[in-house]
Assembly symmetry: C2
Homo-oligomer: 200 residues x 2
């Protein structure tokens, strides 16, 4: 009965379902959304996707997505070159930039160690991080991978590679998120929040 689904639509849904974080349903939704758009708008969407693919690539230094050879952070003379903040993806760096609290450099490893998705250290930009730490006068590396089991494992993996290089290695703090309800916090977060209590 699957003959009823047009071949090209089936192919699009199949390809999108293969993207991480997408299932069949969300792939169908995306395909239908694009099909329901006025044709001109849909073609425009594809055009800007093409433009993005042509222009955007990882910064040669840190891996942040940029349209230049070297990203605005790495090429900014005023940034503190003694500090590197390691993140999983460019958007994590963009989020940290929004806080305006960090003036150092970044390093995007491009994911996290994940045995389930068969992502190993070789698939991540970890070697280039070690090279940067060895080449430049780096004093601190902040491990800002996500506070998940996989992000945690990735942080310890990098910690082990860097621990004997005579630099400070920090991990972003665990604690209660702003607006959270204490009663609903998970035990791990709550115990970390207590452990790292700060004097007022």
């Amino acid at each position: 009965m699957d003959k009823i689904i047009p071949e090209t639509l089936k192919k699009v849904v199949e390809e999108i379902s293969n993207l991480p974080g997408y299932g069949e349903k969300s792939a169908q939704r995306l395909a239908v959304n694009v099909l329901s758009m006025p044709r001109g708008e849909a073609l425009n969407l594809i055009k800007i996707f093409m433009e993005m693919l042509e222009k955007v690539h990882p910064c040669k230094e840190c891996g942040i997505y940029t349209e230049e050879e070297i990203c605005p952070v790495c090429s900014d003379e005023e940034r503190d070159r003694s500090s590197i903040c390691v993140v999983e993806e460019s958007f994590d760096a963009f989020a940290i930039e929004r806080t305006r609290k960090y003036r150092g450099l970044y390093h995007v490893i491009g994911g996290r160690l994940s045995p389930l998705e068969e992502i190993t250290a070789e698939d991540l930009n970890i070697e280039s991080l070690i090279r940067r730490v060895e080449k430049y006068p780096v004093k601190e590396v902040i491990l800002a991978t996500n506070p998940t089991v996989e992000g945690e494992a990735t942080a310890s993996y990098i910690y082990n590679l860097l621990k004997n290089k005579g630099i400070t290695i920090s991990r972003i703090a665990y604690g209660l998120p702003f607006g959270a309800v204490l009663e609903n916090a998970d035990d791990f977060t709550l115990s970390k929040a207590l452990e790292h209590k700060t004097p007022i």
Copy 2:
């Protein structure tokens, strides 16, 4: 600080966020997913999207997405032409086809009435449904819009347009989904499941 995000990437995220069901986060995820693909695969994804946009369009009769002028259901001589099943989207029809329990025709209205999203009856293919009912020897219309508040409102709207045309109008049944835990069912579903109890 938003200068750090490449312009073309920002544009893609903005456009995707405008699609129904997408927010900024899911749009970012999609953009990053496409950027992280090997360039060849990303271009291939765009190519098959283009192919889909070129070939797939709504069936002239019922509105199901098809690569033909008339979809496989409408052009199948063996389908029961006295019954029309009204669905919100093509994928709803595809799902019903998978059950192999329905042998009539479909009518895709292309969404649901939604005051919040400013979708009114004029935005949906309802007029063409009325024309089909008047033109062909239709005996039954099954309203299979989603069992949601908006789907329900859409079903009653169509019911009111059709109720004086001397045909049977049905609504797909409410009840407990297979595998559900009775204790966790919402009151509305549970009361409908009792109301429509069937003899064994």
